[in-house]
Symmetry: C2
Subunit: 163 residues, 2 copies
């Protein structure tokens, strides 16, 4: 169980869970990279997270109710899933991405998605519905429309190719 918070402030409550160098990075890789296993979270991370840090962040995110871990049979890989609280960190990431791309030098190609999401709250809501489907098994509403992830990917590819 989470420890007693330092105060009753909602901003502080979130900072106590998410305010460190790695928790949001691990969640980002799960959300945008759909990485569900320890090995790929470790080896494909762009910021070079090390093994014991990743293990400690995953444990904390489970303890805090943002992830669940499905224990696997012997020889199989355990799978991590987002909870609803984990999925709802997406708007925090969008806000952080907007700040980062405005006030820091970032790689243009890694910033396209942040820019598209910053301007399109509907797209962000749609991505959250897709995450609910993938991680929680909740069917998407309006599931006959185009997927938000496909719209994001198409917009990204259009930018990359210079259209």
């Amino acid at each position: 169980m989470p420890a007693q918070p330092r105060s009753g402030c909602a901003i502080n409550a979130a900072v106590e869970v998410l305010g460190d160098s790695w928790s949001l990075i691990v969640l980002r890789d799960i959300i945008f990279g759909n990485r569900r296993h320890f090995r790929e979270l470790l080896t494909r991370n762009n910021e070079g997270i090390v093994s014991n840090m990743l293990a400690s962040r995953l444990r904390k995110l489970i303890d805090e109710g943002l992830l669940t871990k499905a224990e696997a049979a012997r020889g199989q890989r355990a799978e991590y899933s987002l909870t609803e609280a984990g999925i709802q960190t997406l708007p925090v990431m969008v806000a952080l991405g907007t700040w980062g791309m405005t006030h820091r030098e970032t790689s243009p190609e890694l910033t396209i998605r942040s820019r598209i999401m910053a301007d399109d709250p509907q797209l962000v809501a749609g991505l959250m519905d897709e995450l609910r489907e993938t991680h929680l098994g909740v069917p998407r509403p309006n599931s006959d429309g185009p997927r938000s992830s496909e719209r994001l990917q198409a917009a990204y590819e259009a930018e990359i190719s210079g259209n």
Copy 2:
């Protein structure tokens, strides 16, 4: 100067600056509490920040370009001001507050402002204009309308009194 970032990702860039236990708390106290001096940032903080942590966070926020410090004459108190990059952490705080009030137990009275801001992007934009006026001397656009801070305070008082 900030160190070389761990990657070119915009989310990571923001996490490197804001991803710790105290930076956003100090910024919150400056933004919502209009605390501009070391002593009041120390003594009025709800989470019990200690003196050398506050000093280190203020130094980091200056180094990273989110605050400036006006050196004072001998015997006078130095004043901290937000930069534009500091002011633009407000949407990050709104997103964090929304997450915190939804997924953590918080004190209802400390959560009212977060709830009002979560539903009203115009109000958040207006608060940023007020911060630009207070901290950067930039006149507010539409300065004959009601101040967003007054609207927020009025909504807060209406809730507190049970209307």
